[in-house]
Amino acid sequence: MQISPEILFSIAGFPVTNTVIATVITDIVIIVLVFMVSKTVALKPGGTQNAVEAVIDYFRETTEEIAGERASFIYPWVLSFFLFILISNLVAQFPGFESIRFQTAALEHHGVPFLRAATSDLNFTLALAVISVVVTHYFSIKHTGIKAYFRRFITFRMFPIFLFVGILEFVNEITKLISFSFRLFGNIFAGERVMSTMYGLFSFGLPLPFIVLEIMVALIQAIVFAMLTMAFMHIMTDKSH
């Protein structure tokens, strides 16, 4: 079983994998959605605008409840993570993912899947995790000050208790990266394997409950990633923490 994404071809030395193609498809879906909504944005909302507004309003209100005034800079990031992960996961449920094969002379007999869920690529999930952590730290420095930021990790108050706490905080930041990236990657990758097995066993009817399950997983994972980012951003930008 191959965990890494399959390289289909290269463009100027850049390896184009099946997850890269899925990422580009996700980008296109998001950009089309953005321009559809921004073109028809009106005081009296239509169908698409209503749905997008409901999602945005939900995240804005939730962030405001948790982070208060700091919600204005936290929620766009949280919402971006949610939309990008959700759309990536949902796009992967469409027919053609895993089933359309890509064949070249160098590849094995059945070829490799032409499309694979972007979130089943550790490069993708790790990139999101890094952005989440880096942006969180940037906001922390911006809103609590550089001194307070460093005191979080290195302090000689009540020596050596808080120094040890600081080291734990540092380790915590690294585990954040690992937990963020591997949780999302693991869930989606495992889902893909299950779906692949179900399609292999019996293609008609049997995968249906698993598709429903995967849609739920897609939504839950997007919410988990977004909510954790929101919580970490709130904690790191709060002076009392």
């Binding site: 890269v20 953005v34 005081l43 507004e53 766009p76 490069n123 952005i131």
Partner: protein, 169 residues
């Protein structure tokens, strides 16, 4: 290193995903969140304004109803006052007219009485004069045969004097 290879971690792919997501964040922020936030704020402002307007309209309506009630009450009291004044005025006019009519009728009666008295006096005078003339004529007729002209004249004069005295008395 082996585990990194197994999971397919690759610097160029990682950077691609990193930059790709940052571009998506930029697009979402610039073209979706910003206009939607602006529109949502505008809608919120309009709703708040409409609610405020409705509240103001309610207050204005309440005030107008109060004002209407006040005006009606004032008009009613004014009408009542006018009615009372008119009633009094009518009574006074009626009374005045009655008094005037009475005084005029009394005056007319008085005038008629005076006129009747004058007429009566004049008639009396006329009748007296006529009776004197008739008496004179009767006397001259009766006495023409009994007395001389001097005696007649003396008698007539004396009689006339007596009559005059009687009339004047």
């Amino acid at each position: 290193m082996e585990i990194i290879q197994k999971f397919g971690l690759e610097a160029r792919l990682f950077l691609f995903q990193l930059v790709n997501f940052l571009i998506i964040v930029f697009v979402l922020k610039k073209f979706l969140f910003a206009p939607l936030k602006k529109m949502l704020d505008e809608r919120k402002r309009k709703i708040e304004q409409s609610l405020q307007d409705a509240e103001n309209a309610k207050i204005i309506l309440g005030n107008a109803t109060e004002e209407k009630k006040k005006i009606i009450a004032e008009a009613k009291s004014s009408v009542d006052m006018m009615m009372a004044t008119t009633k009094v005025s009518i009574e006074e006019t009626k009374e005045k007219a009655a008094i005037e009519a009475k005084s005029r009728s009394e005056h007319i009666v008085e005038e008629a009485k005076q006129r009747a008295a004058t007429e009566f006096e004049n008639m009396n005078k006329k009748i007296g004069k006529m009776s004197v003339d008739i008496s004179g004529k009767v006397m001259s007729k009766v006495l023409s045969n009994l007395f001389t002209e001097d005696e007649k004249q003396k008698l007539i004069s004396r009689a006339l004097e007596k009559i005059d005295e009687n009339i004047t008395n």
